[in-house]
Amino acid sequence: MGLLSKKDAKLIIDPLADDNPITIQVLGICSALAITAELKASLVMAISVIFVLGMGNVVISLMRNIIPSKIRIIVQLIVVATLVIIVDLVLKAFAYELSKTLSVFVGLIITNCIIMGRFEAFALGNGPWRSFLDGIGNALGYGVILIIVGFFRELLGSGTLFGFPVLGDPIAKTGLYSTGYENNGFMIMPPMALIVVGIIIWVQRSRNKALIED
């Protein structure tokens, strides 16, 4: 990356794989399980978190020298709550149906451990530019897993991608369905999200043995 120095590029690339917030740090699992039944919801959730975490990290980083450490959690909560309300209102204004699907989980971005974790661990001790990159990187790492899980769950559970029927029509029995294939109803249920995330973790750790903890 020509634009970024090697050290800065690491901030974005590391959380995508070897320091992924979901599969390695096991943070933000709750929303990853709840909203990944559809790819569209996963994507919107990913974008929302990228916005909140990127902006939040910058704001916290700018204020890091004036926040008294005793009340820093409150300040962090106010920052993240403001950003989440912006996201929530934008969704309600421009994608009402989707905001109903995501329902409470947009609001719950506030309590997403990844966000508080990055504020505490990174933004409070680094400059705005590096904090911005770190926020984007971690949110992308979160988003990538969400989209992978959403892809498999929607494809196998409903036979669609972004609501578009890619495997044929299950009622008229066209496409793959004419061979007797059926949608896997279990995929749409939350337990299957946990299992899919588990399988991703399994694959990742067997490819890179250094990630296996004792």
Binding site: G180, Y181, E182, N184, G185, F186, M187, M189, I195, G198
Partner: protein
């Protein structure tokens, strides 16, 4: 050169290579190994894992054979051309449907076991032998083979191998497979069509516009859950001439299998007995509620609640689950006191889920899976209780 020698030579040839566990397993599945140790002191026991597994399979064979005949019998009964139970026609329908289920179950399951053994470089474990036999017995006759294959792959990998293979699994693999099928493809696991060979196909033909009579065969539990009158008499239910999953209809054969397991000391009589006691307790509570007129005829629970408590024991998969699946030594409680608690709760919850879950009137699967999860906890408290008791005794003695 006999098969044994050929297998032995193959094993020697592949020794130390990646495929070694697979050949080793093939060899020892069929024969005793050639090399045995001669000196030193050994404890000889006859019941190794393989023999244990074989005894359980033997106990299930009557259910399988009965299931084959019953599948055909129910088919002709529902299609309006009844045949004798022990007839070639019935046998033919059954075997042509059940043999592929058996082959897919063993093929996929053992294939995955071999694969994992090779990757993890350990010996192939015998754990799947019983699971592979259980699976065809607890699914409806018309289950599509690819669904079974997917479910078996899921059950073996997620239910067993990720925990470390046979002996380490928390959940009973056969029930994991069935639960997966139930949640993934509910239309193939419940309703009034799947229990009769050919009924689903007939339905599709009707939907395509052919003029045929619809065929249906509801299980006893399904009928009761809908509050309808049951068309089979008690003796049919006890002997097993009713629609249901392939191997679970005949209570008498299951009892014989259970006695065989108890006699050979493979199955735990404590679990079986306490499970029956638990089911009777719950059944009596429900009967009591009906008698006290807390639940009246208008209630949607009336059909199953008013069923006499002892009938709950002979309908649905309760007997089969109790005898062959609750007693799985890996997933059940290990302590004797724990076994009583574990079994009692299985029976108790089975009947409770049966009555309160109108979408799926069979509770034994979910009850066993739930108690599988709690079995280690039960054991922990039983052991801790024992430790406490002994500490107390020690104090009294020393004082």
């Amino acid at each position: 050169m006999g098969l044994k020698n050929t297998l032995h030579n193959l094993k020697e040839k592949y020794k130390g290579t990646k495929m070694a566990p697979a050949f080793n397993a093939l060899h020892t599945f069929l024969y005793l190994p050639n090399e045995t140790t001669h000196n030193g002191t050994h404890i000889k026991v006859a019941d190794d894992l393989k023999r244990t597994m074989n005894i359980v399979i033997m106990a299930m064979v009557p259910c399988l054979i009965f299931g084959i005949f019953n599948a055909g019998y129910q088919h002709f009964e529902a299609f309006g051309t009844p045949v004798e139970f022990l007839s070639w026609d019935a046998f033919y329908i059954g075997i042509i449907k059940i043999l592929p289920l058996l082959i897919v179950s063993y093929g996929v399951g053992l294939g995955i076991e071999f694969l994992f053994a090779i990757v993890k470089k350990h010996e192939v474990e015998e754990g799947y032998l019983v699971t592979g036999m259980l699976v065809p017995l607890i699914v409806p006759i018309d289950t599509p083979l690819w669904m079974l294959a997917v479910a078996v792959a899921f059950g073996v990998v997620i239910g067993k191998e990720v925990f470390g293979g046979t002996g380490m699994n928390i959940l009973n693999p056969a029930l994991t497979i069935r639960a997966f099928l139930f949640f993934a493809y509910p239309t193939w696991m419940s309703g009034d069509k799947v229990w009769i060979e050919g009924a689903v196909e007939r339905d599709q033909l009707i939907a395509a516009g052919e003029k045929l009579d619809a065929v249906s065969g509801e299980t006893i539990l399904g009928t009761l859950a809908q509050g309808k009158a049951v068309g089979h008499d008690i003796m049919d239910m006890f002997l097993g001439f009713i629609p249901g999953s392939i191997g679970e209809t005949s209570t008498i054969l299951i009892i014989l299998g259970g006695l065989f397991l108890i006699f050979t000391k493979i199955g735990s009589w404590r679990i079986m007995l306490s499970s029956v006691v638990g089911a009777i307790t719950m059944g009596l509570i429900f009967n009591g509620l009906v008698n006290a007129e807390v639940i009246t005829e208008g209630s949607k629970f009336f059909g199953l609640m008013s069923t006499p408590f002892w009938q709950h024991l002979i309908i649905g998969g309760f007997a089969f689950g109790t005898v062959f699946m609750a007693t799985d030594p890996v997933t059940a409680s290990q302590t004797n006191k724990g076994k009583w608690i574990y079994g009692f709760l299985i029976g108790f919850l089975s009947i409770m889920i049966r009555v309160f879950n109108p979408a799926y009137p069979e509770g034994v699967m979910l009850a066993i899976l739930l108690m599988n999860v709690f079995a280690p906890t039960i054991d922990h408290y039983v052991v801790q209780g024992n430790v406490k008791q002994r500490m107390k005794r020690l104090k009294v003695k020393n004082a």
